[in-house]
Homo-oligomer: 504 residues x 2
Amino acid sequence: MVKYDFETLRNRYSSFLSRRDAAKQLVKFWDNPPGPGVIELAGGMPNSGFFPVDTIDLHVVSQPFEERHSQNGLKVHMDKNEPKEMPLSMSLQYTNTEGMEPLLSFARKMVECINQPAYEGWDVCMTSGSSDAMYKIFEVLCDEDSTVMMEEFTFSPVISNVKLQGANVIPVKMQLSANPEEQGIDIDRLADLLDNWSVGPYKHLNKPKALYTVSTGQNPTGMTLSLAKRNRIYEIAQKHDFIIVEDDPYGYLFFPPYDTKEPMKNAYWDDKSLTVQKYVDEYLVKSFLTIDTDARVIRLETFSKLYAPGLRLSFVVANKFLTERIFNMSEVTTRAPSGVSQALVYSVIKEMGKRHSSEPEPSVESMVTGWLEWLMKVAGHYAHRRNIAFKALYETEGYKEGLFQVMEPSAGMFIDLKPCWPQGELSRSDHYDLITEKMDQLNQSLLKSGVQVVLGYRMAVDVKASKDTCDFVRITIAYANDDAQIIEACHRIGKGFQVFFSRM
Amino acid sequence: MVKYDFETLRNRYSSFLSRRDAAKQLVKFWDNPPGPGVIELAGGMPNSGFFPVDTIDLHVVSQPFEERHSQNGLKVHMDKNEPKEMPLSMSLQYTNTEGMEPLLSFARKMVECINQPAYEGWDVCMTSGSSDAMYKIFEVLCDEDSTVMMEEFTFSPVISNVKLQGANVIPVKMQLSANPEEQGIDIDRLADLLDNWSVGPYKHLNKPKALYTVSTGQNPTGMTLSLAKRNRIYEIAQKHDFIIVEDDPYGYLFFPPYDTKEPMKNAYWDDKSLTVQKYVDEYLVKSFLTIDTDARVIRLETFSKLYAPGLRLSFVVANKFLTERIFNMSEVTTRAPSGVSQALVYSVIKEMGKRHSSEPEPSVESMVTGWLEWLMKVAGHYAHRRNIAFKALYETEGYKEGLFQVMEPSAGMFIDLKPCWPQGELSRSDHYDLITEKMDQLNQSLLKSGVQVVLGYRMAVDVKASKDTCDFVRITIAYANDDAQIIEACHRIGKGFQVFFSRM
């Protein structure tokens, strides 16, 4: 395996840094802690005796949606001494900007066990949510004359993170398909865009510095890039020398294939042979990190969808030169993520790890296994919701009348629905307003029928460039309280399409 | 009282915004939540049933440094329904970027009760620690050609927040004095600097946009600006039209005067008439907000020193136009502060408020009273530590031999000590290296004697401009475990000064 030291990475990747990055220098007035026996009177840190809270006790459910007051579950206790390696006297104190070491160790082990990078010389840095990570990444990389490529439909707030720098965002065409080999970024068009940049539609811009991709269970399309496509994208990245920013909030929520004959079939709940190892080896799609021989991939993971959004806790994986730049950005802005959030995550994961350890202090590997067990439980519930939703959608009159298609996602929290236009309804005109108008009308019909969805065109990087593909709506299966609410919502969707088409 | 609407504030303060501020626009793909009866399938928010933690229980001490397992204290319980207005199903979810409303209401009431601004049209915005608040404020205000004034000694990491924008930081001379009327920014020199800008040492820079001041218990000098000085600074701010950024992490830690005849006297512990109201009216120094008829003051408060640094939670008070810009900055970067941290603060303060309320649901005023009671307990411990430290310092041989002075602070966590140079030891030369060299030697002597302190010159905005004032060291009384450690540290300090001067 190729090994990169810091100097090599610096030489290789300095040219990617924004000009503003050079201005980021924390003015430090303190020195490292003194040796033993020296009384510390330097840091303006209040002794933990001043903290009003001296114990925190958590109850952890054994399953998502578990009944209150169930006798199951775990109890987690934290005080000034527990957990030993991250007691409250530490997590409630000023802590390292990059995150507390036990949590970093856990994150590194996650990466090693699941997405072992193809090089040595990588590291992780905790951040305060993926939005925080994203804007820091683009602060490090972008100036006003930088260009960033994004999938033509994307989590559009990320566009703001790039535009904050004054930089340009350009869309990359996708294939919206049920075929796993075809899903996601259109490789030929990506290659063509870059090979012929100087005569293409963006020739007035600098060639792209980075590609931002939500590669698994893409938001909003639900598409997942196959390994073959990932390899081709990587080759293109090498040829044109850009950085791949891989955002993966949903990858762990991977769906077994839907079976129309047995709609409620759920391997997470039915398949006794589905161990953690099988989940990792056969379900989870390998990150770009696993083919990253150049150290050009930045991967984002977050605890928002897998634990709770209110934590505002996430981490970035990249080569050590780039993680150091991201860390440096945090040093002069947010400093450390919430210590309370880090403690809640670490202590719970540690408790989950105890079940896989004969030792009182579980190894980091045990903690990864324990956490993956939890993730499989969450994924099992999302797979169930996917089943409920598909069954309900396919049973609607609207579907049976052929009014809409379901673009089956392979992972995540979103399902996209595409209206089936009567022949010639949308001619391939240069006037994109027609499609957005029609989609607005569909939205109104759906709202009137009692469901709120997201319009795909609202998540386009450039609606004009996506007029041929933006005719879909995105629904989420994450927020509903129960199966009944999902079923009712799907009935209303079917109705909404009927209402919409009856007006056309 | 003057009342400013948003348009007036926008017209008045748009000119203060950085050019980059215009690039800050969150790309939103979602609409407001639908009306009742419409099923929400839009937001990618996981149902709270997916959260692994369903209850959090806290133990709150009744006093700082309370014995473990004391029967005193408060128990705080949080679950999916409690506290009613901020249950875990809310605080662990995606929440408003500006902070959750109950906490914002509390912060507003704090400001109203303690530092009622001199105008209507202000608001608060939660932020993720003061460093986070600071960099956002300077992102909103500064470009590369902006100038910011700071007290000549300051919390130097803030310099990084300004330099991140490429902007310039210039020092404002201070008076380092025991006299409360003289402490802090030298008004005459500030007026002279600005009145004669175009012929002064910074004439090549734009006139300052803002003054950053830690006005009470200044870090590192411990100085507090008198009300008279605050009024004069405000007049100068009006004359030269700059914004005042008032950072107040320590103001609540206000010290009753030290009594050499009764060194252990502590009004927080001894004075039965010291009510919350008396503390607010007679101890706390009024913020610049209370004289801010123009709406030109931005005030920062933080929970770091008063609750715990690991929360990463703070808030900003300013006119609505400026809080909206700071909010907007958060929308495209960090988004909301940690919901867990907000829940820990709110639920504890609410519980403290119950003691001042006959209702089961305490009013916001009761919560402010409860919180202020806690702050007085914290301040009482800092006052005690100040007493212990002063007594110990004054009893050292080094002090009795006249080797150093103690610059008595009026609030906060820091005490500064100044070596008493033999006659002519430091001539007023242009070579500032002499003073920094001597201070480095003092530092070595102190380290050898077993204490680590902070050198004042390391916290100078511009050491060259502060060579006449930078000969002090800063010690903190915050971090030590107990009185004995403080006493031992002070003995070592006395020794350190003896060692230093014996070598000269």
